[in-house]
């Protein structure tokens, strides 16, 4: 393992408290729900969650019910990082002026609310340097509205707005490199994690909370109806994403890249793809060129990270 601070060595070390309660309305097998449960196990004290519009929001906050045992704020889709900025600064000044208890502020946002419509608010918040942890649960499309492509959708994936057509077989563009963009703001900590590796995930949450300043955590969270696979396969698919190098698990601490899960002998990407309906067309001969493009993107991304880690360059 890395030099990453270890707060939880085994699953038994995890707190028993569930801050994200059962009884929410997320789908069976929802990756985002698994991520939420794990993330909020790792809180270290008074915490508030800011959650923009999306699957998790509509499934956990439907009046008069709530799945949140910690303070929860939803305002809109594109402004979670801004709302969180206001909470952070208000807490700070109210603590100074009137002794209000400081709270950790965690944003829990989907990929649409992060990569696309919430991108400007996120960039503004990172630039201003507020002390918050911004977590993106990435299911690689707009799942809440019916599986439309987002800036996080990978090459080749079929969505309802990038269908696997006869002429255009799925999304033609690469996925945005969220961590590279976050790191370009010179923030102290940015990392990826997968729900298939829960200890890595919770330790990263806790580690990030200990660091002053803006932090970004990008968590892969498979989606049953969006990726089209049986609900029991969520964790297996998330693990294959790591094991095929499709989703590298790494962190960038003060600009230094460290790959946390070294995948020395990657499984063939097809093993990850073939389990999902959104990629089924890629395995047909006429779409071999799209599959190649996706493989190339995956390989380039991995090699880039390896080079960055080996060179020790500070981003």
């Amino acid at each position: 393992m890395s030099s990453q601070a270890i707060f939880y060595k085994t699953p038994k070390d995890l707190p028993r408290e569930e801050w994200f309660a059962s009884g929410h309305r997320l789908c069976a097998g929802c990756g985002a729900g698994i991520a939420a449960r794990l993330v909020f196990k790792a809180i270290r004290g008074p915490t508030v969650v800011v959650n923009p519009t999306g699957c998790v929001e509509v499934s956990t906050s439907c009046y008069p019910y709530t799945a949140w045992k910690i303070p929860y704020v939803h305002v809109a889709f594109e402004n979670a990082a801004a709302v969180a900025s206001g909470i952070v600064e208000a807490m700070k000044i109210l603590n100074k002026k009137r002794g209000k208890k400081l709270h950790d502020v965690i944003v829990f946002a989907g990929d649409g609310g992060t990569f696309d419509i919430g991108f400007q608010a996120l960039s503004g918040a990172l630039e201003r340097g507020h002390n918050m942890l911004y977590i993106c649960y990435d299911n690689e499309a707009y799942m809440n509205t019916g599986i439309q492509r987002s800036g996080a959708t990978p090459i080749g994936a079929a969505t309802t707005t990038s269908p696997a057509g006869k002429v255009i077989p799925g999304k033609q563009e690469r996925k945005k490199d969220l961590i590279a963009i976050a790191v370009a703001h010179r923030i102290p900590y940015a990392a990826t994690a997968s729900i298939s590796h829960p200890l890595d995930l919770v330790n990263k949450v806790r580690k990030a909370l200990e660091i002053e300043g803006p932090k970004v955590l990008h968590v892969l969270a498979p989606c049953v109806p969006g990726w089209r696979y049986p609900p029991a396969e969520t964790v297996r698919i998330a693990r294959l994403a790591v094991e095929t190098r499709y989703f590298p698990v790494y962190e960038v601490e003060y600009g230094r890249v460290r790959i946390n899960i070294k995948v020395k002998e990657p499984k063939p990407l097809e093993e990850f793809l073939k389990m999902q309906g959104r990629f089924s067309h890629l395995l047909r001969p006429e779409n071999a060129h799209v599959l190649e493009a996706l493989k190339k993107a995956v390989e380039e991304n991995w090699e880039r990270l390896v080079k960055l880690e080996e060179s020790g360059v500070t981003l």
Partner: protein
């Protein structure tokens, strides 16, 4: 409360608002620079930078984020201020509605200005009118002193336990924001007594966790909105009490509107914002000639002070409503349409005409104000107007 000695100073509208915010014990200010309110936030950032104001000043990367930051800060329990104008307010639009429906107290100064296109940075009320139906309380200043005073009143009203709504203080771009006028400020001590630190009814608190900004489906959404309607109406009942409390420290008494000799007037002109002063000066001249004209400048546009206005208008023989905004394809300007509805449902059959003027900052001079008042008198004499809406001075 004892009034302390007050000194008169000369100050621009923008700076007057900034001064009031500074004296209001504000905790968080978030804004994005947009002409002509920029000076408000520049002054506030100076106050913070120089240690004269113990607050967090956040310059957001957009107006949308500025208002979102304010919502977060207010939910955390802070007293919060922002200011904007025109395009910025339009960009905030989505969050304007979220702010009021989530019952988030805050004050926003709006330096009223036209909306693009054509691009234009000058005075108009076309920016705030799309926010008319949001549930915000909308106050309009007719001069710099009012912009200053209404800022204090706005904070108190916004945070009142029976209200819990955001409040906008509207001041005409450039005409008030960039004009130097005399101002009699209240003392810092009086300001602190009037506005002690905010005591939120509820706020983000781990020990007492709440879910803010829920989803509500058809079975409950309408009840949320009904509560908003009730709160907006309660704001109208609380307002005179807050204004009275402010009068005790300032000596200046605010009401739902300013009026000049409207009680016995045959012809009345109703308007929002700084044009009240121009009309008042013109009406004074006409009154000297024995012409029975009156002017009303609405201070509170939302909630709409129906009963009080009806009381004042019930004996009028004619009414001209002046709008510095327009509802394109509609029956006229927003104030005119509201007034017509009010007259109709209260059984008042006074002839009423709409004068649309000053869009994009076009001057409206004293002699023009006199002409409008005379036009109103002509309507009173004849018992009717020939047109419903005229666009004042437009080259057709």
């Amino acid at each position: 409360m004892a009034r302390q000695a007050q000194e008169r100073i000369a100050i621009m509208g923008d700076e007057a608002v900034a001064l009031a915010v500074k004296q209001s014990n504000v905790d968080v200010i978030a804004a994005y620079p947009i002409t002509p309110q920029t000076i408000i936030v520049e002054r506030l950032s100076e106050y913070v930078a120089n240690g004269e104001l113990d607050a967090a000043f956040i310059q957001a990367e957009s107006e949308h984020s500025a208002l979102s930051i304010c919502v977060g800060a207010s939910l955390a329990g802070a007293r919060v201020f922002t200011s904007t104008a025109s395009q910025g307010l339009a960009l905030m639009h989505e969050i304007v509605y979220a702010t009021s429906s989530m019952r988030v107290p805050m004050v926003m100064a709006i330096a009223n200005r036209s909306l693009n296109a054509p691009l234009n940075i000058h005075c108009e009320h076309g920016d705030v009118m799309p926010e008319r139906d949001s549930g915000w309380v909308h106050l309009f200043a007719t001069n710099v002193q009012e912009a200053y005073d209404l800022t204090f009143i706005a904070f108190k009203l916004s945070e009142h336990s029976d209200v819990q709504l955001p409040v906008s203080v509207n001041l005409d771009a450039f005409i008030l924001t960039h004009s130097v006028e005399p101002l009699t400020p209240i003392s810092d001590d009086d300001a602190s007594r009037f506005l002690p630190p905010r005591q939120p009814l509820y706020s983000i608190d781990f020990d007492n966790p709440a879910t803010f900004g829920t989803m509500a489906l058809p079975d409950t959404y309408m009840e949320f909105k009904y509560q908003l309607k009730e709160a907006a109406e309660r704001a109208g009942q609380v307002y005179p009490k807050v204004a009275e409390e402010y009068a005790r420290i300032s000596g200046r008494r605010y009401w739902y509107f300013n009026s000049y000799m409207a009680d016995d007037a045959d012809a009345i002109v109703l308007v929002l914002g700084s044009t009240y002063g121009t009309l008042k000066a013109a009406a004074r001249r006409l009154r000297e000639s024995g012409l029975k004209v009156g002017v009303i400048g609405l201070t509170m546009f939302r909630p709409f002070p129906e009963n009080q206005l009806v009381e004042l208008l019930k004996n009028a023989k004619s009414l001209i409503v002046m709008d510095r905004a327009y509802s394109y394809g509609g029956l006229g300007g927003p104030l005119y349409m509201e007034t017509l509805a009010m007259l109709y449902r209260n059984g008042l059959r006074v002839p009423a005409m709409n004068v649309v003027y000053g869009l994009g900052g076009r001057d409206f001079r004293l002699d023009e104000a006199e002409s409008v008042l005379k036009m109103a008198l002509d309507g009173a004499r004849r018992g009717r107007f020939d047109e419903h809406v005229i666009w004042w001075g437009v080259r057709a």
